[in-house]
Symmetry: C2
Subunit: 511 residues, 2 copies
Amino acid sequence: MSDTTGSSTRPYDQLLESLRQADVLRSVTGLLSWDQETMLPRRGTELRAEQVAMLSSMVHERQTNPRVGEWLSASEEDEELTSDAAIAANLREIRRNYERAVLLPPALVRELAQTTTLAVQAWREARERSDFPAFAPWLERIVRLSRSQAECYGGTTGDSLYDALMEGFEPGARSAEVRVVFDELRGQLTPLIRAAAESGRRPDDRLHTMRIPIERQVRFNAMVAAQIGFDMDAGRLDTSTHPFCSGIGYGDTRLTTRYREDGFPDALSSTLHEGGHGLYEQGLPKAAYPGQPLSEDASLGIHESQSRLWENMVGRSAAFWEWLLPVASRELTRELDTVSVEEAYAAMNRVEPGLIRVESDEATYNLHIMLRFDLERSLLAGDLSIADLPEAWNARMREDLGVEVPDDRRGVLQDVHWSSGLIGYFPTYTLGNLYAAQFWAAIGTEIRGLDEQVARGEFSMLLEWLRENVHRHGRRYRAGELCERITGAPLSAAPFVRYLAAKLEPVYGRP
Amino acid sequence: MSDTTGSSTRPYDQLLESLRQADVLRSVTGLLSWDQETMLPRRGTELRAEQVAMLSSMVHERQTNPRVGEWLSASEEDEELTSDAAIAANLREIRRNYERAVLLPPALVRELAQTTTLAVQAWREARERSDFPAFAPWLERIVRLSRSQAECYGGTTGDSLYDALMEGFEPGARSAEVRVVFDELRGQLTPLIRAAAESGRRPDDRLHTMRIPIERQVRFNAMVAAQIGFDMDAGRLDTSTHPFCSGIGYGDTRLTTRYREDGFPDALSSTLHEGGHGLYEQGLPKAAYPGQPLSEDASLGIHESQSRLWENMVGRSAAFWEWLLPVASRELTRELDTVSVEEAYAAMNRVEPGLIRVESDEATYNLHIMLRFDLERSLLAGDLSIADLPEAWNARMREDLGVEVPDDRRGVLQDVHWSSGLIGYFPTYTLGNLYAAQFWAAIGTEIRGLDEQVARGEFSMLLEWLRENVHRHGRRYRAGELCERITGAPLSAAPFVRYLAAKLEPVYGRP
């Protein structure tokens, strides 16, 4: 590859061009991952691992090119640049990424990429057979590699190892602070969950049991994604075992959902969730700042706030079902004519402790996250062995959620994250819930008549607000700063708990 | 990327390792192309062009690494290696590939990759609107770039330019020789086609008009592909506008077909055709010789012989329909119970001049190829301007096939090849038909009771024969040599004409 930049170009432009090129390569690894989850034949995994390892190494090589360091230093000394707040933020994040990248030895980058690609396939097969021992050696390797990675980043023991990894997903977050927020949240969630259980009320289940042919659901979900503003000319909606959103690059954002004949609300929730991620990806200024932090997500917590806002704040509201029910009755089944908005609202807002994180309600969901957050910190610190993990999982499920885990498939093997090497990722889900609720409270005061709009299937003002306040900034502001700019306050559990209490009252009464 | 080979390794091993790595990268470009044809959202084309250009440049950079030349020369002087016939063949082809690769300037490689990726999208849109002028500037650029490429390879004027390009698809083929074979073929096809037209007979059309839900066809085609031996654990079958087979790499071979409710025989033919390509890809010794010529196809003509053999020699035989009809009646529609094997045979072997190459019968198909062969040679030589191309196309269609082209969509814009930069590729289709017929004649004398096997849906002996005689050799023998080894004679049009005459007699009588 020849650099297309001439010698007369200023260092900042050379820096940006090299980021752009690294990002084109990185976008290819994005496609490789998407394809692995949706398309790759089983016997293609070995080649895929080689492809991913080779490209990841190349991306890393470009990120750590010493000239990047030189261009960066020269740019940081250029006052014309640093006096521009946006460019200064860009340089701050480029510096951060560079410093982190150079700490990783190329061999580790390669081994992580190759191991996790193979481990995902091993996890998939182990999960199908509920065979934790088959997956254990892979998890062992991944925890060991992740610890090496954390040590390269300067982690030493306990939380400092964990924080070094979490920094890759939620810049600036520290587990000590996360724990404070989580503890506060747990204390306030428990009475809500108990009240729901003790209310003796159980929402009508028809919405979750009526059978609807999958091809009809496929068309319907594509319509809903387009309706909330997802640009289908710059993206897709496919089917996969685990719904996800892959922001491959400019003009190419891919969502997946999953269908069951007797579970159209779950497919719809997944579409809204991934659609929320997708709207964020499509709203980031990728054309203006290709490959630059100014066009990256602020953090995975902020990313998750976008998905949860559409899935929960919008998609589980009475207003949304006022719009959706007649449309769904026309497109899915006339049986829906017998369901009232109130019944749909109650059915969409059941609180019921269960085994599976991604199927859980808004209240208990966060207990699933806290469990993972604690267990993965113990694994990384070496306080918990892989062999003891399933039992530790099951004990916590009993303790926190009062449910018995019947097999590892529905227990410790349910999530893809650890096999993908994503240790330190889980807390961003709950942070996302909290950001979403805090943003939602602000939105409620700023958009007049939003409920009426949603009840008419109009989402453009809401999307415009998110574009303006969240999407267009990319990573200019860190998550916490963005939250303060938007809501005037640092992140706290209170708005979420208020939101949830208000939401559950019509279903379960006042706690 | 660090080389994983140590300094103590002999040059041949270093050479093979570098080929292997280049091939892993190349396999990624294979996935990018497959994805572009099947999945890529419209607005992702620009990024895709950048991805393809970047990776193509990297593959080329590895192919032309001066150390490759050094390792190659050292290997060629090592008698222990060259005394092994397989290794000697490997070295012969590595030398050929290297010599061709170093002749291309990196900037041209990049420009070709980027331009063709964008041009495919431009062609797709122009074709939809039947708007040749919108595509003309792209074709202009592609012909110009292809001419530069041919000149780099040493072409000067006329046929030598064309041969330089065709060499990339059909090693060793020269247009002067191809013309001799094509002329012979044309002379013998014309009376067959005329006889069919003048027979006054027109096969019963019901097979091509009965309506069958597409989801049922999708399942059925997957079953047929598996039945002929395609390993679905190492491949896929999807839907695309233009059926193709993509041999991405070891364990990952992807087929596509296309469906119409009232055209199940066409979808089936495409599946058998691409399935034949896929069986060849899966039969090449890719694990034993990763990235080496010994695991490449012998030529695109040989590749096409494998697809046409399954599509036509097998898939349009009476024996095949004896097996298929009851199965299809069960899986697709009971209406098939009213169709006899003789009627199906006649319907599958209609001869009828038409507008579209990929929908044409075995006899007229080759006239479509000869037309393209002549026109693209004229374009490359500069004897025909892009502006005059549609008229030249339409005139030849009138002359050769007696049909009037109503619009460019069904004329000059129908094929993807030129937009992909594939000039010199078309003749390999007819060469493939001829190789297939010549192999088929040999198979008929070597496998006893093949018809009875096919009539029972048993294809394993046939596949075994192809594995043994064609697939496992990879590019060890050039196409012509392989043909002589298998059939004892050089390629000629005679076996194909004999095959076709015998096949059409039950339908149209003796010509």
